[in-house]
Symmetry: C2
Subunit: 316 residues, 2 copies
């Protein structure tokens, strides 16, 4: 179940173990987009992304016996770090299946939290299968990146906090990959303020949610590249997609160049490092992709984990 | 006069016109330096630096008649933007004398606030004289970058806020150029907590305060380069130096490479863009330059205005 109650329970469960991140505003950004914008700074979250919320909620819900068997996850990066961090917090072993081309900073950070990392080629697209095999072999508990109600409720706490700090939002923009953050945050936001208009944002080259939303059913898109390395899933989640269908007004997409421009604005003007996947909401606003009658928008800056190489490539 | 009362008056005067900036902490940074650290984020201040505090306090203290004559300043960058911003807020014309090699972002931002910029060569070292000539010709009021009690009291409000948020600091590290921020912040900190140990930090290549502190009198050092472009004065201020002599335990210096390493840590781990001049306190801590018995340190991250070129040069 995903509703305001399970999101509030998540908040109580994870309180003190994740940050209540600040909400930033910027006159320069507001002037650039002609709209009052409230940024929920999940780049300042523990382990550098909102993923700590869902992983913590899931892992804290497990029994001591389950903790003893360990947790397993598959992830391109931020979920990996989040599960590693949450597992370390409760003293459980974490095994994380990651793609070989994941950003080096994310690999290093995951290992830094004490997790064992198992690398697979991204093209194989078998990370989930590898993770499930590890679970069968070891008895470990899988912590899914999005298709899990406890994970979705955990991510939703970011939306709950944003609406508490900025209660009068006309719209909410949320980076969308598997859809866990959008599902959780949109449920929280609409419970708080039923008239809020919610927009998932994804890369133009990985617009599986946009295509699925238009078709009214989960479609699979080809694997294609984007600098938004955290948003490269090929199909929406089984549990998340019905929530997206219900809560999204429209699915927005942004190009890599639009993402880079948004990253530079956030860096040079707001002084915040936001990763490409985390900057898609700001990118959509800067390019005027929201309906013009929206005067107040909340944007989740979902993470800040950037490689030196990637950052250099975004500064040109 | 510079004391707790004038700093508190400054705070009342500038309230609502400058940000009460947040104080950040980082487990990663604390572990790296073996000390609990509280960062006062003046890089998130209006116009990107603490300078908005002093300029606002000075300009709000002027009469309407003085506002009508306009304000004049000389600055390598952040003070320029701050005076331009404060002047715009009160509807006064600002004329700013800047060196030709000031970071482009600072030139553009100063003009963006509506100020007239007069460029002079840095080597001529005649910026103050040019500014004074403009004042004589136009009747404008000079807003000094540091040697002015209202400016110093304004900068001191950053120290006051930091001690309110982190009242148990053993030490305070403050970037030092002319000494206005150190003077104001150290007076505020010692009024709040007399036993606090205060450390100005400056570039090793521009250590006029360190040399002057050792000699017990204001000495002039040769002009020499550093990436900390905001800290390149050649002699401490007439009004600030007596405060530095009284309040500093020791003057610390850092190299350009140490500054770059600190900028990278702040960027990649805390997700904060801090300019070279603003990162000297963090650099001193990361290189273990504080006495080892200090367990809790406050660090003023004084600004965040960085050119794309300079940032690129710091990421390698």
């Amino acid at each position: 179940m995903l509703n305001l109650t399970t999101i509030q329970e998540a908040r109580q469960r994870i309180a003190g173990r994740v940050h209540r991140t600040p909400v930033f505003t910027s006159r320069a950004f507001d002037e650039a987009v002609g709209c009052r914008v409230f940024f929920k700074c999940e780049n300042l979250q523990r382990a550098g992304a909102f993923k700590a919320r869902g992983a913590m909620n899931k892992i804290l819900s497990l029994t001591n016996e389950e903790h003893g068997r360990g947790v397993v996850a598959f992830s391109s990066g931020n979920h990996a770090q989040a599960v590693a961090l949450a597992a370390r917090d409760v003293g459980a072993k974490a095994t994380i299946v990651m793609p070989q081309d994941a950003p080096r900073a994310k690999l290093a950070a995951t290992r830094g939290y004490g997790a064992e990392v198992v690398l697979v080629e991204r093209a194989n697209n078998n990370r989930e299968q590898v993770a499930r095999e590890i679970c069968e072999r070891t008895g470990g508990v899988l912590v899914p990146p999005y298709d899990d109600y406890l994970v979705m409720a955990g991510q939703g706490t970011a939306g709950l906090e944003l609406l508490e700090d900025a209660p009068d939002l006309d719209a909410l923009l949320v980076p969308c990959s598997g859809g866990g953050l959008f599902a959780g945050a949109s449920v929280a936001a609409k419970a708080w303020r039923p008239e809020i208009r919610c927009f998932p944002v994804e890369p133009a080259t990985a617009n599986d949610t946009q295509q699925s939303f238009a078709a009214g059913e989960r479609l699979a898109t080809p694997l294609s590249p984007s600098i938004a390395d955290g948003l490269l899933v090929q199909t929406p989640g089984v549990l998340t997609f019905p929530v997206t269908r219900q809560n999204a007004e429209q699915v927005l997409t942004v190009t890599d160049d639009e993402i880079r421009a948004a990253m530079r604005f956030l860096l040079y003007r707001l002084k915040l490092l936001v990763e490409p996947s985390g900057a898609v909401g700001a990118a959509a606003l800067l390019r005027g992709k929201l309906p013009p009658d929206i005067k107040t928008a909340g944007v989740i800056l979902s993470g800040g984990n950037v490689d030196a190489e990637m950052l250099a490539s975004c500064l040109n």
